[in-house]
């Protein structure tokens, strides 16, 4: 059964810079994300994947095109309204974890709930719950400086899902991790997508992540050049090149 998308981007154009230095970072990108899928956005450096992630995350505004998040159009929204959309529907995971060095793991997660207005014991309990979910129940009081890279990224994952967003956007989540931790984080993201029916989009150029994806979108020079999807029922980390199949089918 096809689920209705939680994020829809249509014909996104983004120009960066001014005057002679102006660059067309995105040239009409359209995509949609549905719950329960881990989608990878792959492409070489400078292809526009982080710009696209920023736009999908309502951090950057597109020069042209439209975006709908959980049914809400982002068109005409000011910075505060976009921030509200982010805190209600989107969780972020960053390449450098972006944890608060002065807060412990529990507090780092709680702050994502605090900005949403969830305070006190229920927020603390929820933060603890998600940290246990990512396997850090024993590191609640540890500060980022005392956590390994993998543990820090798992705290970041916990922070991203604490407020139960429908969309999780991850920027190079495994780039700063060794192989073992990279696999652990990707497995976690895949589990979040499947078990919690969230839509997870990860920007990456790490081939180790391919096996966890339900879908891979390839971007080059600001355009989507390919999309691959794991066939339904296939559990092995094998991706079928749907683009090729589609081209074949259409002659």
């Amino acid at each position: 059964m096809t689920q209705s998308p939680v994020l829809e981007a249509h014909d996104i154009v983004k120009e960066l810079g001014k005057g002679a230095g102006k660059v067309m970072a995105l040239k009409g990108v359209s995509l949609s994300l549905v719950p329960g899928e881990l989608t990878l956005l792959m492409g070489p450096s400078g292809s526009g994947k982080t710009t696209l992630l920023s736009i999908l995350g309502c951090i950057l505004s597109p020069t042209a095109g439209s975006i709908r998040i959980a049914g809400h159009s982002t068109e005409g929204l000011n910075a505060e309204q976009l921030a509200e959309l982010r805190r209600r529907h989107i969780g972020f995971i960053f390449q450098s974890y972006n944890l608060f060095p002065t807060l412990n793991a529990l507090e780092n997660v709680r702050i994502a709930l605090d900005v949403l207005g969830q305070k006190g014991y229920p927020a603390a309990a929820r933060a603890e719950e998600v940290l246990r979910e990512v396997g850090l129940g024993h590191r609640l009081q540890s500060f980022p400086g005392n956590l390994s890279g993998g543990e820090q990224q798992r705290v970041a994952v916990a922070r991203a899902i604490a407020a139960s967003p429908s969309i999780v956007l991850a920027d190079e989540p495994t780039a700063a991790l060794d192989s073992e931790n990279g696999h652990a984080v990707m497995a976690l993201l895949a589990r979040i997508a499947k078990e919690q029916q969230r839509s997870v989009l990860a920007v990456t150029h790490d081939p180790r992540t391919l096996g966890y994806a339900d879908r891979v979108i390839r971007i080059e020079d600001g355009k989507i050049v390919g999309e691959e999807r794991r066939p339904e029922g296939v559990n092995s980390p094998e991706i079928t090149d749907l683009t090729k199949k589609r081209r074949k089918a259409h002659g």
Binding site: I59, R87, Q95, V115
Partner: protein
């Protein structure tokens, strides 16, 4: 979490926190000392007027202050005042500078206050040795303990000379200071007139006339009636005479302006130091604020974190600053110009500290307002 984050951000760099607190502390102490001196000066200048049991003061035209009463009033003015409806009593008093000759040689200037306590207009307060009855004895005077050294005397029993007459200290007061640094010397009005030769040929002259009104009499109406009757004199309410004295000593001499200027300088220095450290702290934590913004926090949430940092710095700086200010206040107790700290001043200093820190936070808030949350992806 706002408070937690603010506390952690402050404690994260303890050297910078120390610099911030020193800045606030310096500012508080400077402002407290300057305003404490201002209040102390004001109290010294107006104490005699405030403590008088009178509704109106009749002074020579153009009298500048309690110590500078100008030309003398005659019994004629007193009788005219007494004949005015609504006036219950008119009490004469002498206030004049006079030369004090020390027993061991040398001289200094004193502010001689002559009044009869029995008239109920004004009396020396805080008498720690002797009584008014002692002051009524021949040649008797009362002086303040703090000025014994300046006057070159030991205490009760010491003798000296004021202008042409010999005097003996019969009573001591505590804490009656003079802004002019000419110690107050209390005696009866008759003796004061004799000492400074105000008797002259006509006798019964006085520097001021303290007017007490009948119960229910309207101060403004009686003041107006007195003004119409007394051609060469001024009729002032206590508040008017107090303000005139303050203007004379604090503003026309420039002393008050210097004190207020010092206080403003303290506020300015404190604000700049706190602003600089808060800005620098915000700059250091800018990536965290950008992350907060990316996580969807409102700009108000981030402003609250910065304001909480400013508020915490203010509270800590205030506590330390006031502790030092109270130390300075204690040390100044026996000085010629003791500091005054009132609950009102302490409250306003706290409000001022909070305001100063809030103003200081503006530059930091402007900085975070310009945060581009997209920077979280560029690290």
């Amino acid at each position: 979490m706002i408070l937690t984050l603010a506390i952690r951000n402050l404690l994260h760099d303890r050297i910078r926190l120390a610099v911030t607190l020193v800045g606030i502390l310096f500012s508080i102490v400077l402002v407290a000392v300057q305003l404490g001196l201002y209040l102390g000066s004001s109290r010294m200048i107006t104490d005699m007027i405030e403590r008088s049991n009178s509704d109106l003061w009749i002074t020579a035209f153009g009298a500048k202050s309690f110590e500078e009463g100008g030309i003398l009033l005659t019994p004629r003015e007193r009788h005219q005042a007494l004949a005015t409806p609504g006036v219950k009593a008119v009490i004469p008093m002498i206030s004049a500078f006079a030369e004090w000759r020390k027993p061991s040689g040398g001289s200094t200037r004193v502010a001689l206050v002559g009044i009869d306590k029995e008239d109920g207009g004004l009396e020396p307060w805080n008498m720690i040795q002797g009584t008014w009855e002692d002051v009524r004895a021949p040649d008797a005077i009362a002086v303040d303990r703090t000025y014994l050294k300046d006057l070159g005397i030991e205490g009760v029993g010491s003798t000296a000379q004021i202008a042409a007459g010999r005097v003996r200290v019969r009573a001591l007061t505590e804490g009656i200071r003079s802004f002019t640094q000419s110690p107050y010397v209390f005696t009866t009005i008759g003796r004061a007139r004799n000492l400074v030769n105000f008797d002259g040929e006509k006798g019964d002259k006085s520097t001021f006339l303290l007017v007490q009104l009948e119960p229910g009499a309207d101060v403004v109406s009686v003041q107006q009636a007195l003004r119409e009757r007394l051609d060469g004199a001024e009729v002032l309410t206590k508040a008017e005479f107090r303000d005139r004295s303050l203007t004379q000593w604090l503003f026309k001499t420039g002393a008050g302006i210097a004190l207020i200027g010092g206080a403003l300088l303290g506020i300015l220095v404190g604000t700049v130091i706190v602003a600089q450290t808060l800005y620098s702290s915000t700059k250091d934590h800018i990536n965290e604020f950008a992350t907060l913004r990316a996580l969807g926090s409102s700009s108000g949430y981030i402003h609250k974190v910065i304001l909480a940092q400013a508020g915490l710095s203010a509270v800590l700086g205030y506590i330390l600053g006031m502790a030092i200010s109270f130390g300075v206040l204690l040390l100044s107790r026996d000085s010629p110009l003791p500091l005054v700290m009132t609950p009102g001043l302490a409250f306003w200093l706290f409000a001022l500290t909070l305001f100063m820190c809030a103003i200081s936070a503006v530059s930091a808030i402007i900085k975070v307002t310009k945060i581009d949350p997209a920077t979280v992806f560029s690290r």
